[in-house]
């Protein structure tokens, strides 16, 4: 194993020159406050950006930019690194010209401006959003090198907006007949998705706020539907219309995509829920451990069905497991950060995490998933992820079993 950059290794006779010699930042005057009225990360963080996976799609306006999970901490995704999935590019919609229409099985077809919506009773809640296709490249075999590309269509923010239920009640929605909600976006794709209304009515939010500020343009500014636990494509961006209906709509992105092909050639349609899943983010694929010794192994767990109850970690490819520490708060349908101690002895190891949610559901192995769903579902791969640590300290993406 290489041995670089730890304090133990840079000792001159008297000590470390960066301590013994005064540094520029101790001996000169720094920059003014508000030098950046809206701040940006340190120049030393430039490597951690959203990135496309080459060859995933053919055009960058119908594509994905993945969140660099390999370098993130905690559960909140900074807005600048929130993953992006666009079907027809993104727009900076003029909020003065944005409208929300509610129609269908309602007493009153209504129109709301942003002025109107932002006066309504609002809630703020932390939820994860995961694309249904996250980890989709790995159904058949290992395909991509790092956690940014295996799991990076995943983010978690505090969303603020008016509860969907408040809005629908105000419009006199017929919730007996109206079991389906069509959500439509204001962009060129006019993204439409059928929402399971009774299932999400208590939790869905017509949201404008994201981590304290307005939604980012690439994430739907000024309005998006937040559907906790449900795959990201249903969190319709630039939300312009909600229609209450009595049957599902079979829109393009639920008739041709975002449904799960089974081995017999039938496709499960309207698959929506993101089942319980977890992944170790450090150390993870493509990283290089510099030394043997103690490490904090850290990762994320989440469930579209509720709260994370427990996360187990294995260092031997799933033979033996230990219970990880969960960071607080542990919230329903939000990311949960876990951590566990590890002393790396320099021998090869295979790291895995396995999440359990409060329904008792245990995250499956890729083999278990394949036994039921085959290898061509694209969507909803929530298998246990394995990272191999080689004796050279390099971590790589593998599948076991």
């Amino acid at each position: 194993a290489v041995s670089v950059g730890s304090a133990a290794n840079v000792l001159a006779a008297d000590g470390d020159p960066v301590i013994l010699e005064k540094q520029e930042w101790q001996t000169t005057l720094g920059k003014n406050v508000a030098t950046m009225p809206y701040g940006m990360p340190s120049i030393y963080e430039a490597n951690l950006i959203r990135r496309e996976s080459p060859g995933l799609t053919r055009v960058s306006a119908a594509s994905v930019a993945f969140t660099p999970l390999q370098g993130l901490f905690g559960i909140i995704t900074p807005n600048g690194l929130h993953f992006e999935r666009q079907h027809q590019g993104w727009y900076n919609i003029d909020p003065e010209k944005h409208r929300l229409m509610v129609n269908g099985l309602v007493k009153h077809n209504r129109v709301f401006t942003m002025n109107d919506l932002m006066r309504l009773p609002s809630v703020s809640r932390i939820h994860f959003i995961e694309c249904g296709a996250n980890t989709g490249l790995e159904w058949g075999n290992v395909a991509v090198p790092t956690v940014q590309y295996t799991h990076g269509m995943l983010s978690c923010c505090e969303f603020t907006g008016v509860p969907l239920s408040v809005l629908l009640e105000e419009c006199g929605a017929d919730l007996k007949k109206g079991k389906y909600l069509l959500a439509e976006g204001g962009d060129g794709s006019g993204m439409t998705r059928t929402i399971n209304l009774p299932d999400v009515l208590n939790e869905a939010i017509v949201a404008w706020g994201m981590n304290g500020e307005m939604l980012r343009p690439e994430n739907g500014f000024p309005l998006r539907l937040v559907v906790p636990g449900v795959q990201g494509v249903s969190w319709v961006k630039w939300l312009r219309r909600l229609e209450v209906g009595d049957m599902p709509y079979a829109t393009k992105d639920e008739a041709v995509h975002y449904n799960d092909l089974m081995p017999d050639g039938l496709a499960r349609q309207y698959t929506s829920i993101q089942e319980c899943k977890s992944v170790i983010t450090t150390p993870s694929g493509g990283q290089q451990l510099l030394d043997k010794g103690f490490y904090n192994v850290s990762g994320l767990a989440w469930s579209g069905r509720g709260k994370i109850k427990r996360v187990d970690v294995s260092f031997d490819g799933g033979n033996n497991w230990k219970i990880a520490r969960l960071e607080t708060p542990v919230l329903s349908k939000a990311l949960t950060r876990f951590n566990i101690d590890w002393v790396w002895d320099g021998a090869p190891a295979i790291l895995q995490s396995r999440a359990i949610d409060d329904t008792g559901y245990v995250q499956p192995t890729i083999k278990m998933l394949r036994d039921v769903r085959g290898t061509r579902s694209i969507y909803h791969n929530n298998a246990i992820q394995s990272w191999k640590v080689g004796s050279n300290g390099e971590v790589s993406n593998v599948q076991v079993g």
Binding site: Y44, V59, R110, T192, T251, Q288, D291, N320
Partner: protein, 230 residues
């Protein structure tokens, strides 16, 4: 205005012109489908002038998006199940292989295509384009005129119309999962075997991983332009 409103002064009733302007979705039962019609011939003309640059003359192009047409048979039209979805003989899954509902095609083309000029097609244009696409898949004959009156008939010939499974655990949060893992803690796997590893060509296919991690701290990126360290 809604008399029973909890929120006086907020929002207003939509006009019927407004609802008409925005409520353009077309459901599988064809609710929302505007009247109109279009022939395969007209569809072909439109396709060649507005669509083929991205999707190929026969909807077969893989340049900008997955092919739209291909992989279905006249047999599929009878069964309503696309055989190539099960037998895996088709390398790619085209749109026509997957789509069960003709409304989905109509709705999407009308709302979102051409990709660089959405909402520029008339209803008649859309009938024509759908007719042309379906003719290439042999769902309708080459002289067909698709319209709001005959589209329900066409639905009955969609190759994958019986291809959808609605019974599964992933529509409701309370739905039943299809895996039943248990949380074994010790001696769970007799023999841990690596089934799949990152292929060599994929090591650097996403660019140099060293440049996608911090250059300080304990978790650097491996230099993927070089082979792994010895």
């Amino acid at each position: 205005q809604n008399a029973s409103s909890r929120f006086p002064g907020i929002g207003r009733d939509a006009t019927s012109a407004e609802v008409a302007a925005w409520d353009i979705d077309v459901r599988p039962d064809f609710k929302g489908l505007p009247k109109g019609s279009g022939s395969v011939d007209k569809g072909q003309e439109l396709w060649e002038s507005k669509c083929s640059v991205c999707h190929g003359t026969f909807g077969e192009s893989n340049e900008i998006f997955t092919p739209i047409i291909g992989g279905t048979t006249t047999d599929d039209i009878k069964t309503g199940r696309v055989a190539s979805l099960a037998d895996r003989k088709q390398p790619q899954r085209t749109t026509i292989m997957k789509v069960a509902t003709v409304s989905s095609l109509w709705d999407y083309i009308y709302r979102a295509m051409p990709w660089n000029a959405p909402r520029s097609l008339s209803a008649d244009d859309t009938y024509a384009l759908v007719a042309y696409l379906l003719s290439m898949a042999e769902v309708v004959p080459d002289d067909y005129v698709l319209s709001n009156s005959n589209i329900a008939e066409v639905q009955k010939r969609m190759p994958n119309r019986n291809g959808m499974l609605l019974k599964h655990g992933l529509w409701n949060a309370k739905g039943s999962p299809d895996t039943h893992a248990t949380a074994c803690m010790t001696n769970c796997v007799q023999f841990v075997q690596i089934g799949s590893e990152l292929p060599d060509y994929a090591r650097n296919a996403h660019g140099n991983i060293a440049e996608q991690n911090r250059q300080y701290g304990p978790f650097r990126g491996a230099d993927s332009t070089k082979p792994p360290l010895a």
